[in-house]
């Protein structure tokens, strides 16, 4: 129950017709112009009756309801409302193109408002944000719309949209459930036009997709690809002829992808079932995802290769061992050629294909490296490409096993092989020696305060990284050639800057700092005020020149003011009296003024400019009327200050009234002047 504020009585009469609420006890009007919720009717010409009122949209619409005072307020709509309105339009356009219902569009708008509040729309194209909001709705509602559809409509890269979507989802903490390929089947089935059997084909395709899911084919893959494959198979199962191309155009994946999915499905045991079996039976065995099985297969292949290689090595070694033995036997059993023939035979055996390790030594010393390498390679039965330092050493060691137990031999052989095979890349040798040093060095923090710790760095290695003079010249030439355009630009820029500097209009492009103002350093309060005013530039109506005049010394003010003309004797004593004091006018530095004005100045700096302005015109009219008779051009302020100086012993007021400052007390003085004429 309403209670009257004034008398406390609860007897309040509310009159809807007049729109008043009046207290019956004291008679005070508690409410006026009550907003009513009745419906009124108005009779229109012809006897019909209409309800009075306007229709207002629930979300505020484009214009806020104006109650007849629209002409009064000149403000337009708020910028935030405008943004939301624009977003609403875009969302509804996009949504209608995708055939989304109104509820989804409203949700999308809500997402957009949330994003606005969290400042997520900044730095992103509004179209992207809107698309992301719509897609979010699609995901949460489970509509069969793909991100690809949106990107098709907007002609934007799908990954860019995806990035925006992910960012929004993360910020708004909206966890969209994972996409289920089953959602897309009805949509694609419809697009493939199966006619009456649409439902059957869809069901079959659904079963297929579920089977694929069990077989781990759908993880990490685009759902559209899976659907495409499933639909293709289902169509064939129901005697529909749909080519791969048709399916691809509907589902929007590549042909290759489709074929790959089909192959993968082929690999699963389900593919072996007949159609009827498939519809009834569900195999229990689940397969691993194809990428995992491929990985396993690769691993197996690698292992097999290694094993086979080893076996091959063993077998080949055996064969060569036998070969050597046979040759040796043959040699010994062959009738020894004597004389000239023997010499010939020896020669030929030297240059022929070598098959004994002893001859190998001879071969190695040959200057012709390629032949030697070939011979070595042939002996060990490998290709030349497979020759590596370690392999050779290992093989040599094996060959030497029978004869030389000495461990030094491989090492001795090492250098010779090296020299034959040519200089190895220096880093390799370095790395061999480096490994030792790397282990040794310490790697704690820099306690030495940033000095470069040189331990573990070999100077010679570093020197390798520096070019010598010739190389530098070549590199310079090459680099200049490549980057000539840029260099030209730089030169032009420099020339331009130099020219402008000469003309004096060069604006140094300083990097834009934030608007940090330097601290005002001033010795006195007035300096500080002056500088602050200059910086802030409070008003354009203030004549800053006059402000500057304040700071000018008293001996300068003579030049500023018109010379006192020869005055009538009457005024002389007064002027003398006045001139004895510090000639006070606007040019007088404030610091020399009495204490009276000082506190005023320090406390109310802002008022001062206005005051100056006001007092500025005053002296002029005050000086004008007395034609040439006034000696001291002091303005009204002066007199007050003069009076103040006289009355310094009097109580000091912290605040001087504006009237007083303007020279309200001077009326008497002016009057004196006037009387003088």
């Amino acid at each position: 129950m309403r209670v009257c504020k004034n008398c406390g009585s609860s007897d309040v009469d509310v009159d809807q017709a007049r729109g008043n609420a009046v207290c019956m006890g004291c008679g005070s009007v508690l409410e006026d112009n009550i907003i009513v919720s009745e419906v009124e009717f108005v009779e229109s010409g012809g006897g019909g009756s209409h309800a009075v009122g306007q229709f207002v949209s629930s979300d505020g619409g484009s214009k806020a309801p104006s109650f007849g005072d629209a002409h009064l307020s000149g403000m337009g709509r708020e910028s935030r409302a405008q943004t939301v309105q624009r977003a609403k339009q875009h969302i509804s356009t996009l949504g209608h193109q995708l055939q989304m219902n109104q509820h989804c569009l409203d949700t999308a708008l809500n997402f957009y408002k949330m994003a606005l509040n969290k400042q997520l729309t900044r730095g992103r194209l509004s179209t992207h944000v809107i698309a992301a909001c719509i897609y979010m709705v699609c995901r949460t509602e489970g509509t069969p719309h793909m991100l690809l559809d949106l990107s098709d409509l907007l002609q934007v890269n799908v990954y860019i949209l995806g990035k925006t979507f992910l960012a929004l989802a993360k910020e708004l903490c909206i966890n969209a459930p994972a996409i289920d390929p089953c959602l897309y089947i009805p949509r694609f089935a419809q697009m493939l036009e199966f006619g009456e059997k649409n439902h059957d084909v869809s069901m079959t395709a659904l079963r297929l997709v579920q089977r694929m899911k069990r077989d781990w084919m759908h993880t990490g893959r685009r759902p559209s690809g899976l659907c495409g494959a499933a639909l293709l198979v289902a169509a064939h199962m129901h005697d529909f002829r749909r080519t791969v191309k048709e399916v691809v155009s509907v589902v929007k994946v590549c042909e290759t992808t489709l074929r790959k999915r089909l192959t993968e499905f082929e690999d699963t045991p389900t593919s072996q079932l007949t159609i009827e079996e498939f519809m009834k039976v569900d195999l229990d065995k689940e397969c691993d995802p194809p990428c995992y099985t491929e990985g396993l297969v690769k691993k197996k292949m690698l292992q097999l290769e290694i094993e086979l290689k080893k076996k091959m090595d063993n077998v080949e070694d055996e064969i060569h061992g036998y070969q050597d033995e046979i040759d040796a036997e043959l040699e010994s059993s062959r009738p020894k050629l004597r004389g000239v023939y023997g010499a010939y035979a020896k020669q030929s055996s030297q240059y022929g294909a070598v098959s004994s390790p002893s001859a190998l030594k001879v071969e190695l010393q040959e200057p012709n490296e390629d032949d030697a390498l070939q011979a070595v390679a042939q002996h060990f039965g490998k290709n030349l490409d497979e020759l590596t330092l370690e392999a050779l050493i290992k093989l040599e060691r094996q060959a030497q096993d029978g004869r030389d137990e000495d461990l030094d031999t491989p090492k001795r052989r090492g250098p010779s092989l090296e020299s034959i095979l040519g200089p190895m890349p220096s880093s390799a040798t370095l790395s061999v020696s480096r490994r030792g040093s790397i282990e040794e060095k310490e790697n704690d923090g820099d306690p030495d305060g940033g000095e470069l710790d040189l331990s573990g760095i070999d100077d010679t290695e570093i020197d390798l990284y520096l070019l010598d003079e010739n190389e530098v010249k070549i590199k310079t030439a090459l680099w200049m050639a490549e980057n000539s355009d840029y260099l030209k630009e730089q030169i032009e820029k420099q020339a331009k800057i130099a020219k402008e500097k000469e003309l004096g209009i060069y604006k140094e492009k300083k990097p834009r700092n934030s608007k940090k103002r330097d601290q005002i350093r001033a010795n006195t309060a007035d300096e500080a005020i002056g500088k602050m005013l200059e910086q802030k530039k409070i008003s354009s109506k203030i004549n800053y020149d006059i402000l500057k005049d304040i700071n000018v010394k008293p001996n300068q003010e003579e030049s500023m003011k018109p010379e006192p003309s020869p005055s009538p004797a009457k005024v002389m004593p007064r002027s003398r009296k006045i001139s004895q004091r510090i000639p006070l006018n606007l040019s007088t530095p404030l610091s020399s003024l009495g204490k009276r004005l000082q506190p005023f100045i320090s406390k109310q700096p802002n008022k001062k400019p206005a005051l100056e302005q006001n007092s500025n015109p005053l002296p002029v009219p005050a000086a004008a009327p007395p034609p040439g008779g006034v000696v001291v051009e002091s303005g009204p302020v002066l007199f007050d200050i003069a009076a103040a100086e006289d009355e310094e012993d009097e109580e000091e007021e912290a605040c001087v009234s504006a009237m007083a400052l303007m020279g309200g007390n001077d009326y008497g003085c002016d009057g004196d002047y006037d009387d003088g004429f």
Partner: protein, 170 residues
């Protein structure tokens, strides 16, 4: 799905930054050093060394980014080598604020992973978008690491915590 051999791990990349403490004339260095390129438009110069196999981006302000090392010590050593090169060319390079920015490691758990199940149970951490990327992006809060989990069982971890955190996360 049986799990086979032990999961194999290894850090594959480490990114670090260091401040050499003096402004550099990039053109001069680029022309004097081997395996270095200078791109004036970008204003940065790229230098590679073979041991440890790393790449460094050096800026004219003296700051340097070193990538490609396989361990923290290697990254530090490589950064010091670059600094030494710069020093040899006559600039008073120092070694200030060496900081490891990011480390990437990969490992294999050797069994297939069900990503949909993972995204259902760990919704607030994981983000799985098969249309965009085949892996699941899992942002672990403590230690602060992002994992890319794939269905084949391979996991890629990246973050700027210390090496032992990577092993802990596994």
């Amino acid at each position: 799905s049986e799990s086979r051999a032990e999961p194999e791990t290894g850090a594959s990349n480490i990114v670090s930054t260091v401040n050499l403490g003096c402004p550099l004339d990039l053109k001069f260095i680029a022309l004097q050093a081997r395996n270095a390129e200078y791109n004036p438009k970008v204003g940065v110069y790229v230098h590679k060394i073979r041991e440890p196999r790393t790449t460094a981006l050096i800026f004219s302000s003296g700051k340097m980014v070193c990538t490609g090392a396989k361990s923290e010590e290697q990254s530090r050593l490589a950064a010091r080598k670059y600094a030494r090169v710069v020093q040899k060319l006559g600039f008073p390079a120092r070694f200030l604020d060496f900081k490891i920015q990011n480390m990437v490691a990969s490992c294999d758990v050797c069994f297939p992973i069900r990503l949909e199940g993972l995204v259902l149970t760990h919704q607030q951490f994981s983000s799985y978008e098969p249309e965009l990327f085949p892996g699941l992006i899992y942002r672990m809060v403590k230690p602060r690491i992002v994992l890319l989990i794939f269905v084949s069982g391979k996991v890629v971890l990246t973050g700027n915590q210390v090496q032992h955190t990577h092993t802990h996360a596994q």
